[in-house]
Each structure stands twice: as C-alpha cells, then as structure tokens.
Symmetry: C2
Subunit: 187 residues, 2 copies
C-alpha cells in the first residue's frame, strides 16, 4: 500500500529575483518522493510584525494566509540565505508572525526542516544554527539532521533551478528522510 499523501510548504528566505534559495525551493517539487506535494510560499507581501495588528480582524491578509497555509501543511521547509551570520530579517519576521500566539501557534509542533544555499563556502550554517534555536523557541519540531548547505551555489543553480546532479541527489535523499520523519512525528 502506498504511503498516504503528504503536503509540505517550502518558504524561501530571500526576495531577490535571482536568489539561489528561491531556486532551491522551486526545485523541491521535482525532487520530492511520490505522493508528496511541495508548495512554495513567497514572503514579498508579509509586512513588518506589529503586535498592535496581531489580533483577529486586524491581521494583514498575507499573514492570515501564511498562518493558514502553515497550519494546513504536514511539514515546513525553510530555505534561506544567511545574512550577517544569521537568519534574514525577512524570514524571521514571517515566522515571528506565524509563531503567535506563543505555544499555540501554527508553528507549535510543526515538523520543520532547514536548507540554505550560498554563493561562497559558508553554506548558511551559522544562520541555520540560529534558526534552529528560534524554531525551538516557538516549540516547532526541528528535523534532527545536519541540514542541506549548498555551497558555491553559482555553479549549481541555472535558470532558477538547482541543476547540479550531486546536489539534486543529496536533496532528494534529504526529502526522503524528511518525509519519513514527518510521517512518524507529525500530527
């Protein structure tokens, strides 16, 4: 009997049109196991967090949509560059919105994986460390895996997609492990 269908949400942490991380996120649907759907959620329209607006009827539409889509997904994959040894404000801002109300938010218990790509050799590892702590702070379930860190992404991404075969194979394996884990730990 096949595994039941699974629905993942991939959120790129960059808004840049030629972003390696958006390219990596957009490649995930091609690499996902059978029966696993991956949607990509872009953050362009999510405004700065302001708790004055964080009440029913006051929340920006994009935030209502983001929270609903995270709630409905079986698992989340954050695909992000590293800025200044840390998580880009753009991504942190979005998950700050999604993390409310504390401990009862759509992020609470959400199975979450992390990927990142960089032009240089850091592979976003420092940002991934900070992000893991942030996710634990909102009581998400963090996929216990070293993560996907795509280095020298300029050589591996073309025309808005991940093209390097070794990296595609690694990401494919990650998605297999991630989805098996989501099936074990998920709601």
């Amino acid at each position: 009997m096949p595994d039941p269908a699974l629905h993942l949400l991939a959120i790129p942490g960059s808004l840049r049109s030629g972003s390696f991380n958006r390219a990596l996120a957009r490649t995930l649907p091609q690499l996902a196991p059978d029966g696993v759907r991956v949607d990509v959620w872009e953050l362009h329209d999510v405004p700065l967090y302001n708790s004055d607006l964080d009440e029913d009827g006051q929340r920006p539409d994009s935030v209502v949509d983001l929270k609903g889509d995270i709630e409905a997904a079986d698992g989340l994959i954050l695909v992000s560059p590293e800025y200044n040894f840390g998580v880009p404000g753009v991504l942190k801002n979005a998950i700050d919105w999604a993390s409310r109300p504390g401990f009862r938010s759509p992020m609470a218990g959400k199975p979450t994986g992390i990927m990142g790509a960089s032009a240089g050799l850091s592979g976003t590892m420092r940002a991934q460390e900070q992000l893991k702590l942030n996710l634990l702070g909102m009581v998400a379930q963090v996929f216990p895996h070293p993560g996907v860190a795509v280095r020298k992404a300029g050589d591996k991404v073309h025309d808005g997609h991940l093209t390097d075969e070794d990296t595609r194979s690694f990401v494919k394996g990650y998605l297999e492990e991630f989805t098996a884990w989501v099936r074990r730990v998920g709601g």
Copy 2:
C-alpha cells in the same frame, strides 16, 4: 575641558505602540551624560530587504535615511525585545539593509551597544546573544558589556517611559560607560 559632543542613535526593535523597548529607547535622552545627544530612530517605514532594490537610485528612501543616520552617528544602541529566542525580524531586517555593502557599510566599525526589556524574566538575553553574533558578522564594534536586560518591564515602564529608579540609575551608568568607550574606540 568638557568632553566633545557625542551623537548616539537608538533603534527600538518593536513597532508596538505600547512597547517597553520603545519606552526604554525614548528614555535614553534623559539619562545620557552631558554633551551626549540621543536620537530615536523608528523602523515602521523600512521595507523588507530585497537585494534587487539594494542599488543606488533603487533603495527605498527610508533605507537611505537609515544608512545616512547610522553613518553620521558616533555610536548605535539597539533596544529590542526578544521574539522566539532571537532578534525580531523587524530589527534584523533593518540592520540587514544597513550592513550592505558587506564590510564597507555604515555598520562596519560602528560602536554598538545592546539593550532589551521583557515583560517576563528572560530580559531578552537570548536575543542579545544572537544579535552580538550578527553585529560581528557585519564587523561592527560590539560594546563589551553584559548589556542592559530589563526584566518585568510592566512594573518599570509607565506612560511610555522608564520610571523605575533603580533601573534608570543602571541605564545611566551604562550610558556613561558606553559613551566613554565610544570616545576611545570610535572613528
């Protein structure tokens, strides 16, 4: 002979109207040593970072203003809540803009102190740790001090200002040490 005048910029990391951190920032001008001016810079108008817009002639006006004001200041004080064990996206986003171009930005070498206030007992210490790494990532000079961590701020802030006498005295002492350090290390 009196010390030369010094100009500090305080940036609150929260947009909430009743924010304890905005209140703390707004109190700094009252507590600064003689000859030290503190201006408060609010982040409401700083849009999400997008490197497609991070070029001369493309940058949003608020970003141009922010970078110019950081450049012109002798020192910077970031006054921020903690969200999810980390720096609020709102603040990280602003310093992501200010940190470009890498290592030659207005943040490079900028003497920077950190303060935070929380309703509970954390005092924002985890966010301050992450923020110190982010600042080092943009080669800012981080004030070597345990920082100001105002706990149970609901008891210490009234009418938009820090009112607790012990805390005011502590912050006053911090500002004396900070300004002495800025005079030593500043450009």
